[in-house]
Amino acid sequence: MSQNLKWKALFIVFIVVACFWGLFARPSFPTSWAQVKRNFQHGIKLGLDLQGGTQLVLQVQVNQAVRFVSNRAVDTLTNELQRKNIKVGDIRQVSDTEILVSNVAPDQSSAFASVVRDYLPDWAAAMAAGQGNGYMLTLKAAAVSQIKSQTMTESVETIRRRIDQLGLTEPKIAKTGSQDDQILVELPGEGNPAQAKAVIKAGGQLELRLVLAGPYTSEAEALAQHGGLLPPGSEILPGSPGGSNQPGTATAYWLVSQNPIVTGADLRSATAGPNPEMPGQWQVNFDLSRGAAQRFGPFTQRNIGKQLAIVLDHRVQSAPVIQGHISDSGVITGNFTAEQAKDLAMVLRAGALPASIKYLEESTVGPSLGADSIREGVRASIISLIAVMIFLLIYYRVSGINAVLALILNLVILMAALAYFKAVLTLPGIAGVILTIGMGVDSNVLVFERIREELRAGKANASAVDLGFERAFLTIIDTHVTTVVSAIFLFMFGTGPVRGFAITLIIGLIANIFTSIYVSRAIFDWHLGRMTRQAELSI
């Protein structure tokens, strides 16, 4: 073997080992066959269509959130103009992002402008025709997209928190859609769509309740403290002792009133801010709607010194002490860091979804159908692969072995790459694998036919192989690059299944260039090196 060939062989062996490692030796090196199998199943993640599970696509009505911001801007504007005694005709919201103010007193134009500048920095004012000295305020585009993206982030977070309650393995919640206003919820395995929808819908799950006793370290302890019988109108809720809102952290139990005093629907806003009295500490400021304030005022008056449980999705998030009478706005103080206060504010805001949602799509694949698809798809693929290989062996004889090896290696690399990239194998993905096999066969056939032509033209073995590869090289590159280019476009612009197809195709084609040119060539060179010059090349 020449030196060059040795390096090539070493490189190929390295790739093969890396592939087998990726497929069978992760996450831990196997010591038994069962573990090899487990590692393989761990590496090749199956899509919901093969594995069974539920997928929901829902759309967040982001414009609602924008409209809500505009509503508040109208309120702010009305209040501030009144306070500064600036006379205007009419303040009217004409669309989600536009507010029309008519007949601003001419001598107060600049005062009006400064109110807009100071209190509504996200709004741009322009003279409006036909409204006296009227102005059209428009919400800036940057602000609109900021509101929308924040709405989406909060919705995803809220939905994730609610789905987490179901305790399913590996649920996936992600933004999707060309307008970026949709959320994809994937629940593998036994997820039940009706149940999932019920938890997602459970809007306004934020509740403020009175703490009757607690915290206890366990439910049993809480029960034992009350003689095994809960006082009427109370219940035990789990929660975290700190300010953290992650489920699964150390748990504490509170005895709280069954009826909430205030729910998420009553909340107008919640923001984090530094505590003015205790430097270094943070607090959460919240505003209540008018109706809720009328209830909350007398309630807090009666319960000063007691604890108020902030309950989110049936977990106690924190239990601050009521310091005084609270009517329409209040603060939650505690030993919060800035981070914790912001988290809590977000939890309060996100308690209710920031905008309503609409279901667009739902699909549930039963586990038996997924099993059928895998079995039938794999059986058909294997049968056709074997048929193709047998044919190649008959048609190209010894060189056929070369083609078969290249094909097998191509598949191994493809699978290993899927495992390394944590890509998901779906049914359309299998279609991509089949096209890859087709093109793999084609590359080999192109090269072999070219070698045959050169042999017919009377070339010696070595130079026929040389010319065969060289001439077929351009063709193979052209066909592969064309397909990869189109697959990249499909990946960029396509939706779920189309993308699954594109990703396997891209990986498969790159692997194919390697196997059908580099590996196949190395095998030929090795074979030629062992042949006498006069021997006939079996092709």
Binding site: E362, S368, L427, I434, L474, D478, T482, F489
Partner: protein, 416 residues
């Protein structure tokens, strides 16, 4: 072994037959299209509700229909989906609902109604649960409570594993439906006590929901738009690459040929009443890639021969190129055809439309490379007034310098 030794067929002399064949195929497709009043969209693109149910016995269609009518779903379609390659699917039924509700009605109202109708029609003994609808965690919880193996308080994962084995047997080995619970004794780890315990709490339901798909009306439109856009972008990408590597007319010819293949395949879908689903889109994309591959192989050879055979008329060069690549074309297409045929016959219900598109596509895609793409380039050269002696490029015997430079770059890269 070899199929062809130096074939010498005058392909480009048969252009008028090719054109006739393509026109006839396109017209057949168009006729089927007009006859059906458009493409038969699958649920992905149409919107609606589709529930795939497997029954243990012959499904009582009339009974289901009347139960559905009671729920106000008289217009639902009930269809047998027996797939001869899978005997377990003998009693499989697809219940479909058109998306009639406006945006405000609940998306899953139809599903809930169908489920209600089914569970009313096939209710089991009171107090027992349907084993065929039970999830692994339900089974595990039940077994842990009953403890038929008398493991005592140190149960561990034993029942969880047992529940997983039971559902695996049900879903993978018996197609989702267990006919009698006594069958479960073949599952490793299951003792008669376990079976007896299961029989106390469960009954083998006579149907199982295998697949539910609900698509809102506006989603169908959006998915359709996105699929078309993605395909058009992909085609544009190919056009640009081929135009850059060859000449723009080659790119255009290849894309037109691929377009032709897609249209004819869609025509066949109309003709045989196959639905267009997202999987079919993947198949169409596969065939686009495949057909493009075929066309480029021939164009590559044409480009090479243009340099070698400077005096030959262009159609002759094309002929020679097709003949030289013929055995490769037959071989690759034959093998791919073989592969997708197996898929079509054995691949199961879900892959069926995909495989159908590929079976048609492989044949049409191979044909279009020499029957459509090559003649377009010839026709273009003729139209440009070249005395059909020199092909791509001009009489001075060259292709644009840029393309030649690109060739050289790749050729040197290939030599190594």
């Amino acid at each position: 072994m070899e199929f062809f030794k130096n074939p010498n067929i005058n392909w480009m002399g048969k252009i008028k037959y090719f054109v006739t064949l393509s026109v006839v195929l396109l017209l057949i497709g168009l006729g089927a299209y007009l006859h059906d009043g458009g493409l038969l969209y699958g649920i992905d693109f149409r919107g609606g509700t589709l529930i795939y149910v497997r029954f243990a016995n012959t499904p009582p269609i009339a009974k289901i229909r009347s139960a559905l009518a009671q729920e106000g779903l008289g217009d639902s379609t009930i269809q047998s989906v027996y797939d001869p390659s899978n005997p377990a699917s003998k009693n499989d039924v697809m219940i479909g609902l058109k998306e009639t509700g406006s945006v405000t009605t609940r998306l899953d109202a139809g599903r809930a109604a169908i489920m209600d109708a089914l569970s009313k029609t096939f209710s089991g003994p009171a107090g027992k649960r349907d084993f065929n609808a039970a999830t692994p965690s339900e089974l595990a919880a039940y077994l842990t409570r009953q403890d038929p193996l008398h493991l005592g308080p140190v149960v561990g994962d034993k029942y969880k594993q047992l529940a997983a084995a039971l559902t695996h047997y049900r879903d993978s080995d018996s197609g989702g439906l267990v006919h009698t619970l006594a069958d479960l004794k073949t599952v490793p780890g299951v003792t008669p006590a376990v079976v007896a315990s299961l029989q106390q709490g469960f009954y083998p339901g006579s149907y199982v929901i295998r697949d539910v798909r609900i698509v809102g009306p506006q989603v169908g439109k959006q998915l359709r738009r996105q699929a078309i856009l993605a395909t058009l972008y992909a085609l544009a990408g190919m056009l640009i690459y081929v135009a850059f590597r060859f000449e723009w007319v080659y790119g255009a010819a290849a894309v037109i040929a691929v377009f032709h293949d897609v249209l004819i395949t869609l025509g066949f879908f109309c003709l045989f009443h196959f639905e267009i689903s997202l999987t079919v889109i993947a198949a169409l994309l596969t065939l686009v890639g495949y057909s493009m591959n075929d066309t480029i192989v021939i164009f590559d050879r044409v480009r090479e021969n243009l340099r070698l055979m400077r005096r030959e008329p262009f159609p002759e060069i094309v002929n020679r190129s097709i003949n030289q690549t013929l055995s490769r074309t037959i071989l690759t297409s034959g093998l791919t055809f073989l592969a997708v045929l197996v898929l079509f016959l054995l691949g199961g219900r879900v892959l069926h439309p995909f495989a159908f598109a590929m079976v048609v596509g492989v044949v049409v895609g191979t044909y279009s490379s020499f029957g459509i793409a090559a003649p377009i380039v010839i026709a273009w050269n003729k139209y440009r007034g070249l005395p059909s002696s020199r092909g791509a490029g001009s009489g001075s015997g060259g292709r644009p310098p840029k393309a030649r430079a690109a060739d050289r770059r790749l050729a040197t890269a290939g030599r190594r």
